[in-house]
Point group: C2
Chain length 230, copies 2
């Protein structure tokens, strides 16, 4: 199959709500989603993998790739991968990079996706990064994605047309939840908590952003929480 006929898009599906909405958007836009999941030794690795498969099942996606990038734990530098660093609580400060930041994680994830895209002939890599309503990670900004797209164009075979797409980058959490609801995203199957794997903590920055988003959208979050800070 040549590039013109291949409408496969690799969706980076962590198992969180943003990536679940991206999967729905990819299908809605006419792409045939292939889903990529990364295990990087994060605390909630097993729980996220369950969410990944349940969401992929929901969207009837057969092409799944699970990659072990536990070298990110070996490298460390983040409370997500190093259990000796306590996960800090949500601060909602745009100028503060939380200690959950895994150095250059998106750079690593995208590089893997590009390798896979080149082999399966995918023309898009869809990532649920958000700039507006995010945790302030430097590798989630649109300027970063523009630069990486140029590097991909120059660093892959000339016949490829691989582009990283960030369909929700300018959306707020509330907008993502509304759009996902319209597209039938099974939010009850998604997992966002950085800390727990049974009942979401409700206080880590990922839970906090999710809860704020549901509150702002006026929707009920179908998952259970230990505590709600909003």
């Amino acid at each position: 199959m040549g590039y013109n006929e291949n409408n496969t898009a690799i969706v980076l599906l962590s198992g969180g709500m943003d990536s679940a909405v991206c999967t729905a958007l990819a299908a809605y836009e006419g792409y045939k989603p292939a889903v990529l999941h990364l295990n990087y030794g994060q605390r909630t690795q097993k729980r996220e993998l369950i969410a990944f498969h349940e969401i992929a099942d929901h969207f009837e996606i057969n092409k799944r790739l699970i990659v072990d990038v536990s070298y990110l734990s070996q490298i460390g530098g983040s409370s997500l991968t190093d259990k000796s660093i306590e996960i800090e609580k949500a601060k909602f400060d745009k100028n503060h990079i939380p200690n959950t930041y895994v150095p250059f994680r998106n750079g690593n994830i995208i590089a893997i996706a590009v390798s896979w895209a080149e082999v399966i002939g995918a023309r898009a890599i869809i990532i649920g990064a958000m700039e507006q309503d995010s945790s302030g990670y430097p590798d989630c900004r649109s300027t970063f994605f523009d630069a990486i797209n140029l590097a991909i164009k120059l660093g892959t075979k000339p016949e490829t047309e691989i582009r990283v797409l960030t369909p929700i980058i300018d959306m707020t959490k509330a907008e993502i939840i509304k759009r996902g609801s319209e597209l039938g995203v099974p939010f009850e199957k998604t997992w966002s908590c950085y800390k727990n794997s049974d009942v979401a903590c409700g206080v880590c920055e990922s839970c906090a952003l999710r809860l704020k988003g549901f509150a702002a959208a006026g929707y009920r979050d179908p998952i259970k929480y230990e505590l709600k800070i909003t």
Copy 2:
């Protein structure tokens, strides 16, 4: 230690002669080398790892990181990582990308190095890519490295100053060998063959480029070959 005082450079040390020369150049330029080695399920993985440690021992480098990126084999698409694809012989054709090309390998390697650099505070990542006298891999071109440097600048914490340096990109193999000899690189400890792990085959494109380089430099290659095509 702040960024101004930290002169650590991560050198990507495969165990081949180019990366060995880069290690020597890094030390010569006043950097404190830290060396990064990747196992990606390549055929000569064990032999390359031995070369890596012997070269690092030679230069008395303590900071070593070995990362398993066997997902590159899982993804496939290259004769280096998929044993069902036969390694093609050297063609010396600038417009032909050999089947040893591992899709976006340098993109993956650099992403890992950036994560490590951000954690240990290194300010440079040194990679022995060559544009002139290379195998024509798209991720070895200087335009690719320029783009990736912009992505790194935008995708890492503001206080970092990580740059990918390609000190041998415009050199021929012969020039690299001459420079390496001046700097005392132990070429007998390096390994280049893509195919064998005991006696180098002499006919794969990596052996062929190495042998051509030694011949052009007028030096004797200290390692043994099964066959020499030059």
